[in-house]
Structures are given as C-alpha cells and as structure tokens.
C-alpha cells in the first residue's frame, strides 16, 4: 500500500486496522490460554492482561474504561476463570489508571513499568482473592514466581505492543 490512500477502500482498511488491532491483539493474547500445556503450578504470566495493560499505558486516550468489560468476559470464558473476574479486575484497572493519569503530569518508561507492576500485583491479588472465595485457599507465596515473571515480562510485551502500534498508525 502506498503512503497515500488511493481509494475509499484503502481508507476503510486503515481505519479498521487503527481501531481493531488493539482489540484483536488482546483477544489473541487471551487465546494463548488454549496453549496445550498442562501446568502443575501457576507460573506463566497472564499475557492477555499484559497486552491490555501495555495498550492502555501506551495510548491512554484510545479506549474508554468500559472496553475492558467485553474483553474481560472473553478472557474469563476462554481461560476458564469464574465469569466476572477479569471483567471486574480489568475495568477497575482502567478506572484506577484514569485517576492516576489525571494526577500524574508526565510519564516515562520507568514510571510506566512501575504502574504496570502495581497493576499486575493488583490483578494477581484479585485473582487470588476470588479463588480463595471459591474455596481454593492457596498461600500467596505460591504466586510470587508468577508475579515476578509477569513484572519482568511486561517490558517485552510493551515492546511488542509499541511495534504493533507503529504498524497500526503507519501510513
């Protein structure tokens, strides 16, 4: 495709890509839960949440908070979580980040990582609490390896999302 859109079809295609790529990548990350591997302990990061967080921190103006509801429902159903868990936790994350955005004047790479780490901690603790209410009482230490791995996986996911974003907005 040339730099200048040649037809209305090209314009529509670019518009579609601009609007839907973040959503589709998040859904695709949710589908990673179908990877045919049976884990005996929670260690793999929840990539859907990391991708969602990376998009949200990179483009705060792109989504309103309620977009997390359908995305969370999809994640709940695919990953076999109790229905409502990701819906609630993801939307709460967005609302909290909206408040944070209005308080913090500037952000850089390290601050983004700090926010992401805090959000990951919130999400992991939330999932842990819901599982506890569902009768699965697990000491929180069991989750620490996954927590650390998620925090360190965030920059990689963010890098990937930045590359996707460049492609998304390329003309």
């Amino acid at each position: 495709m040339s730099r200048i859109a040649g037809s209305s079809r090209d314009v529509a295609l670019l518009g579609f890509r601009r609007q839907w790529l973040p959503i589709l990548t998040t859904l695709a990350a949710s589908l990673l839960a179908l990877f045919p591997y049976v884990a005996s302990r929670p260690i793999v990061p929840d990539f859907a949440y990391l991708v969602l967080l990376a998009w949200r921190l990179l483009r705060p103006e792109m989504w309103q908070a309620h977009i997390a509801l359908p995305l969370g429902l999809f994640n709940d159903l695919v990953a076999g979580l109790p229905v409502g868990q990701s819906m609630a936790l993801w939307t709460l994350t967005f609302l909290i980040l909206d408040i944070v955005d209005s308080r913090v004047g500037w952000r850089d790479y390290w601050l983004d990582w700090l926010f992401a780490a805090a959000a990951i901690l919130f999400y992991t603790a939330g999932g842990w609490y819901v599982a506890r209410e569902m009768g699965s009482v697990v000491p929180f230490e069991v989750l620490l390896p996954q927590l650390a791995l998620s925090v360190f996986a965030y920059p990689l996911v963010a890098r990937l999302v930045v590359a996707l974003d460049r492609w998304r907005l390329a003309r």
Binding site: T91, S136, P139
Partner: protein, 299 residues
Amino acid sequence: MAPPSTRRPGFSRRAQYGLFLGYVMAVGGVLFAGLLLVIAVIDPSGFNALKGLALDVTSPVSSAGRGVSRFFGGIGDSVGNYVQAGNQNAELKRRLQESRRRLIEAQATELENKRLKALLGLTRETENPVAVTRIVGSSFASVRRLATLSAGASAGVQPGQPVRSADGLVGRVIETGRWASRVLLVADSASNVPVRLVRDGTPAIATGHGDGTVDLKTLEVGKNPFRRGDVLVTSGVGGVYPPDIPVAVVVSVQGDRTVAKPLADPSNVEYAVVLPVYQALADTPLSEATESALRGASQ
C-alpha cells in the same frame, strides 16, 4: 500534581456526555461483574451452559496442538535421560530388584485377599468407565489447577465424576460442555480427597496446595504417621472417589506438615478415564446381615 479542575473534553456537549456515559458504563459494568462473581461463589455450577459452550469451542484448538507440545516436552526429558544414563541405570537396576521382591509379596497378598474375599462372600465390583479420553489443556495463569478433557456430556460425562489415569487419580469433573469438560485436579486447593496410607491403612485427607503438591492431614493429632516414600490410595470414604486408586507419594515430612506429590502427573498423562461417581452404600446390594438386622428392628 493536582488534578485539573475540570475533566471536560471540550465544549462539545456530545463529547462530554459520551465521556460521562463511558464512566457510568464502566462502573456499572464492574458492579455487574462483581454480582456475577458473587453468583459464581454461591453456585459454582452456575453459567455451566455458557462456560460449557466456550469449552466446546476452544478445546479442539488445544486438542490439536497437544501432540506438538508433548513432543517438545519429551525432547527435554530425552536429553536429561541421556546425560544421566549411568546413574539412572544403576538406580533402575536397584529399583527393579526391589520391585521384583515386592511383586512376589504382592502376589502372595493377592492370593490371600482372594481367599479372604471368597470366605466373606464378597465380589469386587467392576468399574465401568464412563469415558476414556485425553487431557488436552489446563489453566496456567490462574491460581486454580484445572485441566480440560476432550469428552463432555455427549459421552456421558457429568460434573462430580472422578477421573483417573493409569498412574493414579487425576481429579474430579466440575464443568461439562457437549464435547469437552473441565477437571479439578488433585493439586487444586479446593480438592479434598479422602485417602489412606497403603502401609498401615491410616486415614487422611489429601488437600491440594496449589503448586503441584498436596498436603496430607491425618485425622488424629500428635504423631505424624507419614514417612518419605509412603504411597496413598483413595479410601472410598464419603463416596465420589472409588477406593484403592493410587493418589500421591509422600516427598517430604516437616514436623506436622506432610507434602506429597500426585502420582498422575497431568502434563504427562496421555489418556484419562472418567469413572462413575462411587456410591458405596447405594451400589452394594443389601447383605444378608443388614436384611436380618432390618428384620430384627421391625419386629
């Protein structure tokens, strides 16, 4: 920094209302999701239709890729085996000798068992499996330890049925779709399996620990009866799990806490057998003794 005094996106009323409505939807959505969670806590089998549908749609993907991931998992094992061949050989020879001795003992025990059972007039009820199926995937990002089976309600699988493999107990079915179902693994901390120690029959409860091991709790306080290497089998107490399915082997004993490892490693299990729910009292015919006791009571 202090928040700006106004969050208005501009002078456009449309934009202002849009933003406001967005927040209303988000907060309402969080409350709605919280309500769904409360329902899920009160009635874990709720939304089974919805979750079963999602399970049906997604399980073929996992099912198709399972061979590939098993292949790659196998490569690591093979390399490790090659490196440790010498040690392993010696170890295996020692184990073989030991198991040969055990086998003879077991044969003797079996004979004795048969004799005693014949004496008591008991017949061992045969287990008719509901379905023989494959484990195709699991939850790996969440705290819960759940696995996905490639058989569902159309094969007769119902929530509550125990699942075993050749190695031992895998878990219990908790959700079913039409062609797929979800299993609560023994290692999940919501799973409680009544077990007994093979060595001396000490009853205990095996509760998942959430990290791939199970905790053993005895019913008596004080002395810890477990030793490293002890094998536990289901006791059949309380129904659901049929008796004498191997469950776990004790790997460490630290004071009061006993950690055991499930014998059926779900990541290596190829086939799983779904068994009917074990109902000891309902399934056994009334023995002569009970009948006479009842007769005695009615007189």
